[in-house]
Symmetry: C2
Subunit: 366 residues, 2 copies
């Protein structure tokens, strides 16, 4: 395993300016990242919860190591490709929170599990048996968490009794070690649901060691579900318009921002930015499904639509209005979708460029 | 300039299977691409229109060369980064259909214009003067098209008289050669708008040599605007759910498809795919803003939501339903947004894998 990566040394002043001059460009404010990481870790420490941050948001080994140094017990990845990048960069304890299906996936899991501590999840016998066969053949044993649908309606077994059935199956399969339960997100119904599952599983003589809840929006309510031993959250590291709307990250702590240039002012009320859906994504924001980003310098402006490379801005509510050539700063609707569109991010500290990091796990959809 | 790239030779059978087994994976059916390219080129040939395909859809030098061999006069790029990739791959005539603002952009345009034939667009004096200064300093002259807003409400001058004013300014600026007009998309009002602009510009003693219209949806109505000399279209090369809805590309000609695996069947009516917004994009489709893709094998299934890596499928209208582990084929809502999320595409001919192409201009947002 290679050692933790550090920010590349600050380039000379002209080069520093250049990386921000050629827009659109995604920037990451390390000071804000550190505030967000410290706040979430402090909450977990206060409530005796393990924090296992989800790296799908930043996709940067540098920030995964930063989260580990702050006290995280390990990381969460959504896809094996992310885990492969993180393992190669020295992260050694990875929960793969997505069901792995098919021989190709199991082969890759085996390769990873030979190098680092992997845990996996699943909500079906098919998934459990597929993992078991491949891992047992390789002489490996990996921790398995039963995914529970505690109200979101996505993946997960549907009832506490189903969780117990799958736990029992897994406990008897070679290559897997029943470890506990996992759910996403943490909702009001999550605690009682998990309690019933834990009781049922315990009644069958199995130990539930880990109970993993997830998500940034409900993060600060995690202590209300005392069944949880661990929380996973990703978006909080950057924040975004959804986080501002749901109160988990304030605007001043939104660390991922896109610098964009006004390239056209065709009418008094309209500006066009050089950042569209291929830069910001068409992901909606909580509380404002039609807006497409917040312009920090012009909070009364409204990005109301995105073409692939054009951001459409309605200036009609603005007293002051930007001219062609002005660079503005956009807080995206959804940090995870936005970050995934950028090959690299410009890293700032104290408002100064201190590095340019490749988004190493960007696009790792497999 | 390097020679046109060819598909890599077919890998051995096991390797061929492997690239489709590890999902999600984007596939491009070359037979369908060739049908789409031939149909669009035949329409243009019939109506005496030059075709300048927009490569922002596929971002592949291989397909740009295929379009050139079919009769295109050159290509269109939306961002300089795309143009840089295409020029390096041997494309020699490139219209940059996005306003270039700022010194960094002008410097890159100068470098490109030294190597290949570049044309540019703009809708403001600021853009024109910025380009002029940089190009004249470099001893270059580049064709400039005045962008006209003929009804879309995005970029472009607002009235035919404004087009004439900008044309006159450009004609007097060093480094630029007034070439004509450009608009997007081609609407019912486009022809009369452009006619008025052409008349006004001609009355001022300037020649309008090129009039460039754009877009796949209105493509086959381009002949109804006889003012057009050239059409730009991108999406038609692949087709997508929007193209099916607006009648420009049939389902059987949709060339870009994402192979995805059913990873969970938590309820009788629900399936979850391993393809979410980071694989398909949250771009909406014409005629069905809430659907997120068409499952070819299960046309009655509905992808009704995407998480980043999960596709949520409602199976309640399906008689037959897929099991965990089944691989399905998804036609995305919007080919351009989807293709931009994939580092590579698996290329098929006659249903067989014949290569894996890096999406060379993917993510070139600057």
């Amino acid at each position: 395993m290679s050692p933790p990566q550090q920010a590349s040394p600050p380039p000379r002043s002209a080069a520093r300016d250049a990386v921000l001059r050629d827009t659109p460009v995604a920037t990451v404010d390390l000071d804000a990242v550190e505030r967000n990481v410290a706040r979430m870790q402090a909450y977990c420490d206060e409530h005796g919860l393990a924090l296992r941050p989800h790296v799908k948001t930043h996709k940067l080994p540098e920030l995964a190591h930063l989260q580990m140094r702050a006290g995280a017990v390990g990381i969460t990845c959504q896809k094996l490709g992310e885990a492969e990048v993180m393992a190669a960069a020295g992260l050694t304890d990875i929960l793969l929170s997505f069901p792995l299906v098919g021989d190709a996936k199991v082969e890759r899991l085996v390769a990873l599990a030979r190098e680092v501590t992997m845990s996996v999840v699943g909500d079906s016998e098919t998934v459990a048996r597929g993992l078991s066969a491949g891992l047992a053949r390789a002489g490996l044993e990996v921790a398995f968490l039963v995914e529970c649908d505690t109200g979101f309606g996505r993946t997960g077994v549907q009832a506490p009794g189903d969780a117990a059935d799958l736990a029992e199956l897994v406990a008897g399969l070679p290559g897997l070690r029943f470890e506990g339960l996992m759910t996403y997100p943490t909702l009001t119904a999550t605690g009682p649901w998990l309690r019933a599952a834990i009781d049922e599983i315990s009644a069958r003589g199995l130990e539930v060691r880990t109970v993993s809840g997830g998500g940034t929006p409900g993060f600060f309510s995690s202590h209300r579900a005392p069944e949880l031993t661990e929380v996973r959250a990703g978006t909080y590291v950057y924040g975004d318009r959804s986080c501002i709307a749901n109160g988990t990250v304030a605007l001043e702590d939104c660390a991922l921002r896109v610098h964009a240039t006004v390239v056209s002012r065709p009418t008094v009320g309209r500006a066009i930015l050089d950042a569209g859906s291929k830069t910001l994504s068409n992901d909606p924001a909580e509380g404002d499904p039609d807006g497409r980003g917040l312009i920090v310098e012009y909070p009364d402006a409204r990005i109301h639509a995105l073409s692939e490379e054009h951001g459409w801005v309605d200036l009609s509510a603005c007293e002051r209005r930007p001219e062609v050539g002005e660079v503005v700063t956009v807080v995206p609707n959804h940090a995870c979708g936005c970050a995934n569109l950028h090959d690299e991010v410009v890293v700032l500290r104290g408002g100064q460029v201190v590095g340019v990091w490749p988004v190493a796990a960007r696009g790792r959809i497999r």
